[in-house]
Amino acid sequence: MKTKTNGEARIGFYVCHCGTNIAGVVNVAAVAEYAGKLPGVVVSRDYKYMCSDPGQELIQTDIKEHNLNRVVVASCSPLLHEHTFRTACEKGGLNPFCFQMVNIREHDSWVHDPGDPATEKAKALVRAAVKRVALHKPLEVKRTRIHPDVLVVGGGIAGIQAALTLANGSQNVYLVEREPTIGGHMAKFDKTFPTLDCAACILTPKMSAVAAHPNIKLWTYSEVVKVDGFVGNYKVQVRRNPRYVNEELCVGCAKCVDACVYKEEKFEDEFNEGLAKRKPVYLPFPQATPPVVVFDPDACIQLKTGKCKKSCLEACDRDAIIFDQKPETKEIEVGTIILATGFRTFDAGRLPQYGYGTLPNVYTSLQIERMVNASGPTDGHIMLKDGSKPKAVGIIHCIGSRDNRTNRWCSRVCCMYSMKLAHLIKQHTGAEVFNFYIDIRAPGKGYEEFYEKLQEEGVHFIRGRVAEVADWPLTKEEEGKLIIRVEDTLAGFVRRIPVDMVVLATGLEPQPDAQEVRRLFNISCSTEGWFLERHPKLAPVSTFTDGIFIAGCCQGPKDIPDTVAQAGAAAGEALSLINAGFIELEPNTSYVVADDCSGCKTCIPLCPYNAISRDEEKKKAVINEAICKGCGVCVAACPSGSIVQNLFTDDEIFSEIEAVLG
């Protein structure tokens, strides 16, 4: 790499207008003029958009014409464009690390009012960067190899899509799913909006493709328990929970289920949202993938007490049942990880005024999905508890969404799935259907049209947040009905609408263990518990941890098209790393100056990555820069100032402190 850093600092300074984003608040001309007088600055300019091609060329030309050996750009956050400008410097023949960026947009113009204080702040930050950059040394970028295998966590539609995309691109994928089968929430749906195509028809082929794909290792009923390493080189431990069945042998014939000593189905069927029962040994649903039964250790007599006739064993002609199966931990190495851990639905019981769990015939939307599904617990019939068809159904939107007392966010899918259910209910029962909504949100392709179609079908839309689902009639007609009390905000009065069935459109929430999961993978969460993307627009599936990507509803509520698109994007990001074969790492690692080190060992236990060891012969500390991730904790602790962190040397930081203050 050609580097021009010899001799005195010759600094080029550039301040960006960012249209009016910066120039509307900070007096950029004054900043440029001020910077021009700072020691070492030989060129000082302001320009409309520094990140544009002409902006970058400006830097490159100046480097050559003015023989610059340092560059400072005052514009937006370095987290956004540091790379852009470093590359520009490099193209101009300068070592990319002889560059410093000043954040005068996110940290200045966007948070302060126009005027002198904002401009003074910009000058102070510029002063610090100019002083600091003179101390910068040319650095080499480190490269690390990317292990080509990928781990996908979560086997819902997001995980399935990501795994297939990668596997079809010839990568080895481990797909880990906590439940006994993949499919996630989508497997429970009947139809999908707005096209009304059958969820199973589009999902089942993908599930089979996962199971059959030679490049995919599918581990269901399994959980990631430990993650070590860093981008390109993750070491992951996966615990395979015992399902008491040999997966290789079982073909899902379900003879064991028939033979079980429990003749009745007695235990709550998770897949059918409590609307049906199952036995201690069961196949989650007919298309479960892998098609392997699972024993519920809390229900199976043999597993609970060891005293069962074990009629299932006899029934299995493949000897697939293993009652003493133990959890098994697999250790794998992967280069990248995609998290697609999904969501949970809001617990409607938290809002007692809507009667879920206390009033019969109040259902959640997911229960209706199961009911309307031909292979569901009612064989596709929408019925009341007494088996009759409802004549009037109320669908209440925003249960656990857009509500300060529960969740403030919009769950994005409820309006659309409520309309889909309204359509299906009307189609199946001919009932009058009322939608109670705050706002209808239908901002997708074909969504608004679907809303119009529903209105044409005669589905009622009443705007108002429902106060209560009441069972206290005031008139004869209300007797035996569920009465929806709501202020109709368009009509301007309070209404009582008697219906036979209430559907609660429950919102989406982060998984209850989202915090543990993100700690495991060392990524960030929003306060609500959604996984945080690196940038909402420019890096929507990346996280702050290199090599870990997110897809689907673990990042926030979204519908199937968006989820699938995101899963594809995450797979694409992983593929791009894999194809490159290596990743360039920020050279902000630390090293020990051996002559200075007294061998006191203070630093050794502080390193979270065990990158520091002691050279027993020389009695000095040594940092393995391949392992060092550049936090600098050892530098701060080193009692004799013998450790240096590249890009964050003591001298650089002291000079920043000094200059920022005046």
Partner: protein
């Protein structure tokens, strides 16, 4: 004191970790939250990089307050860097108190990447508290301390130019 506070604005030097608090400050910007322009942010990769010397240097160079922002306990991008910060800050706060630096002048806050509003709140709150405390102005104070030597130094200088003479 009255004279000094005239038009005086508190100066806060902040050390923010790259992954949580610096990003939160970026988020505050993206969300166009308005807060006091008294803060100057210096980026570190981890709050664990914070050498207490930096805090001392900031005060000595004229900061009225020093703010340190890191990831919440358990959330450190580097596993445990923030606990190391907490240990240093616990002792540093005690020492600063003994050196006559008011508690509100040195502050450690855990601010996650999603807490842009907390950046706003903390900066505003700290600015207000520093306003109430008034300037620290150590460079001025040190100059004032050294003023007592000036008379002698001047005398020594004139002496060097002219005849040696007794000072007392």
């Amino acid at each position: 004191m009255e004279m000094k506070t005239n038009g005086w604005q508190p100066k806060i030097v902040a050390f923010f970790c790259n992954w949580c608090t610096y990003t939160a400050a970026d988020l505050a910007g993206v969300s166009r939250m308005k807060y006091a322009p008294n803060i100057r942010i210096i980026r570190l990769m981890c709050s664990g990089r914070l050498d207490p010397q930096f805090v001392m240097a900031a005060f000595a160079r004229g900061a009225d307050g020093v703010l340190i922002g890191g990831c919440h306990p358990g959330d450190c991008h580097y596993v445990e860097g923030n606990y190391k910060t907490l240990r240093r800050m616990t002792l540093l706060k005690r020492m600063l108190a003994d050196l006559g630096i008011e508690e509100d002048r040195c502050r450690l806050e855990w601010i996650s990447a999603s807490e842009g509003d907390k950046v706003k709140w903390v900066v505003n709150d700290m600015t207000e508290k520093l306003r109430a405390l008034g300037p620290l102005d150590l460079p001025g104070k040190h100059k004032e301390w050294d003023a007592e030597m000036e008379a002698l130094e001047k005398e020594v200088q004139t002496q060097q130019e002219g005849e040696p003479s007794h000072v007392h």
